[in-house]
């Protein structure tokens, strides 16, 4: 990206400087036309962003200082009460804990399994492209529809999970109605749906590792495990970092599975930040608290994005 831009600038700069008077006037005329065209090309996008992305964020800040039930014409200004409420609210603490639990488990497991699958598919096996497609397919399926399918799978009496657990003579818990089992169930669905993305990206990273690194390690007498530790892991670290960040941001936005399977329950055990934002706004009709919670969510995502920018910048400069 950087190379392409600077390369182009180097190529065009001398031409402009050595221009004669008449062509420099033409240049200005062309430039004027180009500015107009630039604005025309960019305007729809920027206007839409202004209306539906930036303005709402300002509105969010305003709403978060108000008490409003989404219906009445009166909005009360309550200052920082909504934030104070969140800070003291047991449910919200629970929500933060759930979000943390869900994110760590879902991201950790899908990256780990994704790496295992990628290592396997990196072997010279027949049909591996087909296997890659199967592993990736769930990523593209509607979370709402998939959530319904998995609700059936988790049915404690007639579901697939009960059947599979039966093979090893375990009885199935009532997954979606038990506070301690609902979140693991959601995590299983999320991992099933998203590990293919991690696998496919890891696989691309593995295939980009130069073969001679492995050959050199082999000459040095490194065994399989040692080659994995000294070549594969360090060479994969940039892509692992990329996956880590995108996966964390994705889990923060995971809504459809939770809405369909548990609606945040039982007793708030699967109520995560994004679900809480929805529930406060559109079920409890507490607009102020929803807006405040959405800003907390935004702040968390912002921090993670800034960490990413920080580190990738360093990689571009020094790596």
């Amino acid at each position: 990206m950087v190379d392409a831009t600077s390369g182009r600038q180097v190529a065009t700069a001398p031409r402009g400087r050595s221009a004669t008077l008449s062509s420099s006037r033409r240049f200005r005329l062309d430039a004027g036309k180009e500015w107009i065209l630039f604005i025309l090309f960019m305007l729809p996008n920027l206007v839409l962003f202004g209306l539906f992305t930036f303005w709402p964020m300002i509105e969010n800040v305003r709403l978060s200082t108000q008490r409003w039930d989404m219906i009445s014409p009166v909005r009360l200004n309550v200052g920082l009460d909504n934030y104070r409420n969140l800070a003291e609210n047991q449910t919200f603490h629970r929500v933060l804990g759930n979000t943390f639990y869900f994110t760590v488990a879902a991201v950790g497991v899908s990256l780990l399994l994704g790496l295992v699958v990628a290592l396997l598919l990196n072997q010279p096996l027949k049909f591996r492209d087909g296997a890659r497609a199967v592993v990736f397919a769930p990523t593209l399926l509607s979370g709402a529809a998939i959530g319904i399918v998995w609700s059936y799978i988790f049915d404690p009496r007639y579901g697939l999970m009960a059947q599979v657990l039966g093979w090893v003579s375990l009885s199935s818990p009532d997954w979606l109605n038990r506070p301690e089992w609902a979140m693991p169930a959601i995590i299983i669905v999320y991992v099933w749906k998203n590990l293919g993305f991690a696998a496919v990206i890891f696989l691309a990273g593995l295939q980009a590792i130069p073969r001679d690194l492995y050959d050199a390690a082999r000459v040095d007498g490194a065994n399989v495990w040692w080659r994995f530790r000294s070549v594969t892991i360090p060479m994969l670290s940039p892509i692992t970092f990329f996956l880590l960040i995108t996966s964390i941001l994705n889990t923060f936005q995971a809504f459809d599975i939770i809405r369909v399977m548990t609606q945040g329950g039982p007793v708030d055990s699967t109520n995560t930040l994004i679900y809480y934002v929805y529930e406060q706004g559109f079920v409890a009709l507490n607009a102020g608290r929803s807006a405040a919670a959405s800003l907390v969510l935004f702040a968390l995502m912002m921090i993670i994005t800034l960490v990413q920018l920080r580190f990738t910048e360093r990689r571009v400069h020094y790596g």
């Binding site: 065209l37 962003f49 992305t53 995502m301």
Partner: protein, 288 residues
Amino acid sequence: MGKLSIQDQRRLNRAAGYLAMAVIVLLIGLPVWWMISASLKTSREIYTFPPDWIPRNPRWSNFEDAWQSAPFGRFYLNSIITTVVGSALEVTNATLGAYALAYLRFPFKNVVFAILLAALMIPAQVTILPNYVFFGSTVYDLIGESWVNTYQAIILPGASVAFGTFLMRQSFLGLPREVLDAAKVDGAGHLRTLWDIVLPMARPVIVTFGLISVVAKWNDYLWPLVITQTESMRTLTVGISSFYDLEGNTDWGVVMAATVFVIAPLLIIFMFVQRFIIEGLTAGATKG
């Protein structure tokens, strides 16, 4: 125990590899198979345990029953309209924006760049509430009618695009400079260059982004859920979830048939274009 020859060892490794691959494919594929097989089961078969893996007498009428218990035809229509129009707008915005960023002079290009980057960092999920209020009260104050529960309200917030603009700009900059210069010498204006030269050459990335966009719109759930109010405006994803809220787990066969309605179109498209999607995505990720 005799020592294995290197060849035997290799054969063993390969066998283990195939076995592991088969296990993974089965584990990932099983839920989809479960859905399809249940969609063809009678409720008697659903409620027998242990279940049959293959329904004995496929009951196709589950699909008819599902189709009649909610307006799925209407849901399809709504999903197709919002996906096609939304993706078309997104791809157009991304293409025009990428061309402008890549080839047009503009004094405040850095500012525009920063604005797009900032937009990239604000996820749609945190703007649902103010956007809902916008279509409800602000639009009402302006034109005297609310836009809640309309197509334009479903489509517009998702019509702008930052990711795709950056993705395409990247690929436009990689196009051979000589061809573009030659076009300029021939007196081709920017519109002509964009249409006749850049678009055909950048077709792979445009198609890839278009597919990603279509998948995202088709599966979108949170925004259509809050902005639609009547059954006649619901998209498939919202329709299926409210169908499930009502129907519950009374007849899994019919419910599974209904989920097939939502999942089948994407699964079929994916079978034909999977290489395109996977390779496009990985290229974007590994180069980034």
